[in-house]
């Protein structure tokens, strides 16, 4: 390679590496703000002030969903298997909402520690399979390779 070309390539590589480092460091510093939601563990650690509009994400705890008989109101617990957050929501839930499903709720913490959601979104995991395969896996009693949750 001719010297002037080598020099040019060097400058380009230098700029690219420098910029990547700068951007990498800023993203690392901002990672709390880039995260879409707080986990129940973060809520339990007191990272959230009541009244502040945030999102909380986790799995819907088995057996925790309680629908109101009169109004369109639902209460359930979301968990990351370390800590729980009780969520209250009045509105239409996404089709995918069910126990054991990952969800993201938007709203604010009330003083008593429940989370009042104004919107609930369903998270989809990275597992795709047919009804038959799922049934066969369930019949075998375990679902190999199924990750535990939405928290990676």
């Amino acid at each position: 390679m001719k010297p002037h070309r080598r020099k040019k390539l060097g400058i380009i590589v230098f700029i690219a590496v420098g910029l990547s480092t700068a951007i990498g460091l800023s993203l690392y510093a901002l990672s709390n703000n880039i995260d879409l939601f707080f986990t129940p563990t973060q809520v339990a650690a007191g990272e959230v002030t009541p009244g502040q509009r945030i999102r909380v994400g986790g799995m819907v705890k088995e057996g925790s969903v309680e629908h109101s008989q009169e109004v369109l109101e639902v209460s359930f617990i979301t968990t990351d298997y370390n800590h729980d957050v009780r969520i209250q929501y009045a509105g239409i839930l996404p089709d995918l909402f069910r126990e054991g499903q990952g969800i993201v709720a938007e709203g604010a913490m009330a003083e008593d520690g429940t989370f009042i959601a104004s919107r609930v979104l369903a998270k989809h995991d990275e597992n795709y399979m047919s009804v038959e395969v799922k049934a066969a896996l369930d019949a075998a009693g375990n679902t190999p390779g199924m990750p535990q949750g939405v928290m990676q």
């Binding site: 380009i12 879409l36 996404p94 989809h124 990275e126 795709y128 009804v131 395969v133 049934a135």
Partner: protein, 249 residues
Amino acid sequence: MWLWFSKLGSPRWFYELSNKWLPWLYVAMMVLMSVGLLWALLFVPEDYQQGQTIRIMYVHVPVASISLACFPLMAVAGTITLVWKMKLADMVAKSVAPIGAWFTGLALASGAIWGDQIWGTWWAWDARLTSLLIQFFLFIGVIALRSAIESQDAAAKACAILAIVGAINVPIIKYSVEWWNTLHQPASDFSMDPVAPNPPEVWVPLLIMISAVYVFFVIALILRTRNEILQRERRSQWVIDLVSREKSV
């Protein structure tokens, strides 16, 4: 090897060689696209969670993966333009930008349609969606920058620099779902086991669709680049000869 490299940089050589490739690419695309689409739309079984909505994946994943390949390609072409001043590299860089913008737009649109069904919202400001939106704007920016600068050489240099800088976004898009918590799910692990999550009946047609859309992308890129070659070399003898030959036929 260096001789091959400099030959590849010659627009005329590329024009003539790509002429021989194109028919094969057309055949490959027709076969892959029809097999892939029919398989994905008619024969892939309903998903246990999403039902029929899973079919959107067979469009979304191919266009998204190609949109992610376009930017590094533009950055590599830009580096070659800056360092070796190879004419063909800039023609490729110019041609890939609108294709990349389209694929990124399609990935965002197909993802929004899927998200509306599954998540309950068509948009969320999570790291994956936002970084892909930034890539869409970067492509638009590269196209605008090129048309804003009149001198061809200056435009090539400016776009090359923007492409190299913008390529830093690509690993951020790719790993956003692992580095941060997002609404978008992470990439799946394919399983060879037919009775497991992500079995072959799900991913084989996906692989076919990805190859089909890749071949389509290569064809689109070659056609645009050939156009660019004729446009820029219109005063050279070989293009004049070619045009007069075409006319006489």
